[in-house]
Amino acid sequence: MDLKLGGELDDFRQMVRAAVAQDLPADMRARQQAFGGLQSENGDALKWAAILHKRGWSVPHWPVEHGGQDWTPLQKFVFEDELASAWAPDVNWGATHMVGPVIYTFGTEEQKSRFLPDIRAGRYYWAQGFSEPGNGSDLANLRTAAVLQGDRYIVNGQKIWTSGAHDAEWGFFLVRTDPSVKAQRGISFLLIDLKSPGITIRQIPEINGEADLCETFLDNVEVPAENLVGEPGMGWTYAKFLLDHERTTSSFIYWNKRELRRARAIAEAEMLDGVPLAQLPQFQSRLARLEAEVAALEWSVLRVLAAEEFAYDLTAVASTLKVSGSRLQQAITELQVDLYGALAMRQFPIELAHQTPTPLWPENIAGRTATALGSRAATIFGGTLQIQRGIIAKLAFGL
């Protein structure tokens, strides 16, 4: 047992910190500081990927032969942590963490050379087309059909929660290519150019003023057969591969750490009768409890990254990260809202969420309530809290 985050890691951290300080444009940083977890961030994800790409850091978690870095898991942890601390934008997750790994693992050489360089360089957005209106957590019940006609698939169906599809050029879809087999089997993984005829994208207005969630309608969309990744009928397997590939990301640990720091800063700035809220026991208690939970979550993540031999199934362990991480996203942003009290009621237009409206209003208040409202989705998307509990009961205890 060796629980020290060693000295070389500190050197690595300093190196990353210096690089980010040098590379991250001030306006981009300011937007992030205001927006936080909001999506409407001006295309910064791509711009930032392009900047990181110059150092070869846009997809460090990929294998070296595909443009990744030869970093240890803990170095990758420190890298992500530093980026978040410095208010760097998120990357285009669907591209770098979902479709990218599927392509380099299961794709053809042609697919690799066609798509991977663009992802590395942040050239365009990718959207995910898994869910359908009839199924949320129940992907096996998938209905969007892709019928092979000659050298192309004719795709018909409807996808929902294709986040960012309105801004994206490409999407990766789960489609049913074989209706004769049941449930998960017969599902394939298909890359679709979102500018193809027959595709209609509708932005769905959200609880917090954003409209990043999208519904995507596919009406006789023609997709070249060469856009199918891997084997037909293996789409479900690849989707699960993605989940297993990213066991710790659902903890949102970097985000949670950063937003808790923000909450503390708000508590130090906001006053009650001239006393900062951070000095009032009722808020000290909430801050300390959340900090305790975040600290524990960080170590839960480190345990996975450092390959602890768990007494329980690893997928069940990963679900604990999702459960804790998603609840923390909600609890931390609720605290931010409560710290602002009545001021948190104001709705800021999402496109102005990076502005402080007048000197009467606290700096960076604009994005907070929107972020808190949006974080209700944390316990829903990517497998609801209830689904996670079911996974744990089954895999950890055989119930």
Binding site: I160, L343, T379, I380, L385
Partner: protein, 370 residues
């Protein structure tokens, strides 16, 4: 002791529920919010016609002399339909402040739907402050000059008249002053809240105020203000009850309709138990409302304590019920297109208006301390 509705309350409730179901579809409300600054002049005329704006006005002031229970019955229906028109400011706060005052004309105009007021009290840097710290009246000639800064004035978007709290040079206490929102040297910056209502920051820069614009003199102002705030909180809590109970119905229907894994999701025990806990919370919340209504006209301390206790229970229940409702809806719950997200946002602002949970806990402690 009788919890059932009187005939008059039954009529009031029926007419409110009818109006709400006829007029306030989700689509209508979303359109109002997005295109009309949240104010619906036609609806307002109906409210006046139905007598809602005169309900809490005493009979001797040509009102209907309704009780606080009557107001609560109306507000429950209003809350259930997510009606966010400025009823509390005009039908609850205005009578509470004006019924004992000299400006009978203003009260009559409000009751007739011809004028709308907003109470401008909170100031920057205050968390539900008790008295105004910045805004003050300085004597000038026979009248006063009013200077100050108000923030987050609820319902100010559609108001034409402000009731401003201010200290008076050389006097103790808090005066309540009538100010025309469009008067010279009154600067108003309006903005929407997350529930679709419109509030404003108000800057007053040596605004001319005549002596008879003082609606409540400084020596009585704080007591009148506290009573008005508590009545407003009761009205909002009643709305929260309506909103929570509507949320329960929506969710129960959704659980029966939505299919996943080959069955209605309402068959899953885990979701059934969430619904049950929501029911318990909403039921306790309604009881808390009754508890506060029972002493709403009692002494100030007893009233304040009961309102604060209810605000804790109802505030917690509101959040629990509406968050759970979103969870039960899955992804649809976080869209603007499903009702539950609107209830959630409304319930959040109801909790944060006229004192949030933290404020009410502190108020109880301070009442108990002295």
């Amino acid at each position: 002791m009788d919890f059932n509705l009187s005939d008059m309350q039954r009529m009031l409730l029926d007419s409110a529920e009818r109006l709400v179901s006829d007029r306030y579809s989700l689509e209508h409300r979303r359109a109002l919010r997005d295109h009309h600054d949240g104010f619906d002049a036609g609806a307002w005329a109906s409210f006046a016609e139905l007598g809602w704006l005169a309900l809490a006005v005493p009979e001797e002031k040509d009102g209907l002399g309704g009780s606080i229970e009557d107001v609560a019955v109306l507000m429950i229906a209003i809350g259930g339909g997510l009606v966010v028109d400025p009823l509390v400011s005009n039908a609850v706060i205005a009578p509470a402040i004006l019924s004992d005052g000299h400006d009978t004309n203003l009260l009559a105009e409000i009751a007739a739907g011809e004028r709308r007021v907003a109470l401008a009290h909170d100031e920057p840097g205050e968390r539900y402050g008790r008295g105004p710290r910045i805004t003050r009246l300085v004597r000038r000639g026979n009248g006063f000059a009013l200077t100050g800064q108000k923030m987050l004035v609820l319902d100010a978007g559609s108001a034409d008249t402000l009731i401003v709290t201010a200290s008076i040079e050389g006097e103790d206490g808090t005066a309540l002053v009538r100010v025309d929102k469009n008067a010279d040297r009154v600067a108003s910056e309006a903005y929407p809240l997350i529930d679709g209502t419109v509030a404003a920051d108000i800057r007053l820069d040596e605004v001319d105020v005549t002596a008879d614009a003082i609606l409540v003199p400084a020596e009585h102002g704080q007591a009148v203000l506290d009573a008005a705030h508590d009545r407003a909180k009761i009205a909002l809590m009643a709305q929260a009850i309506g909103s929570m109970e509507a949320t329960l119905s929506i969710c129960a229907a959704y659980l029966k309709e939505r299919q996943q894994f080959g069955q209605a999701i309402g068959k899953f025990q885990a979701l059934q138990h969430i619904m049950a806990d929501m029911f318990v919370a909403a039921h306790q919340a309604r009881s808390a409302l009754y508890q506060s209504l029972a002493v709403a006209t009692a002494g100030a301390r007893e009233r304040a304590r009961a309102v604060s206790l209810a605000a804790i229970t109802i505030g917690e229940a509101s959040q629990f019920v509406s968050r759970s409702a979103i969870q039960l809806h899955g992804g649809y719950g976080v869209t603007d297109e499903y009702e539950v997200s609107h209830h959630y946002r409304r319930l959040l602002t109801l909790e944060k208006s006229y004192g949030d949970i933290d404020f009410h806990i502190r108020r109880i402690a301070s009442l108990d301390a002295g």
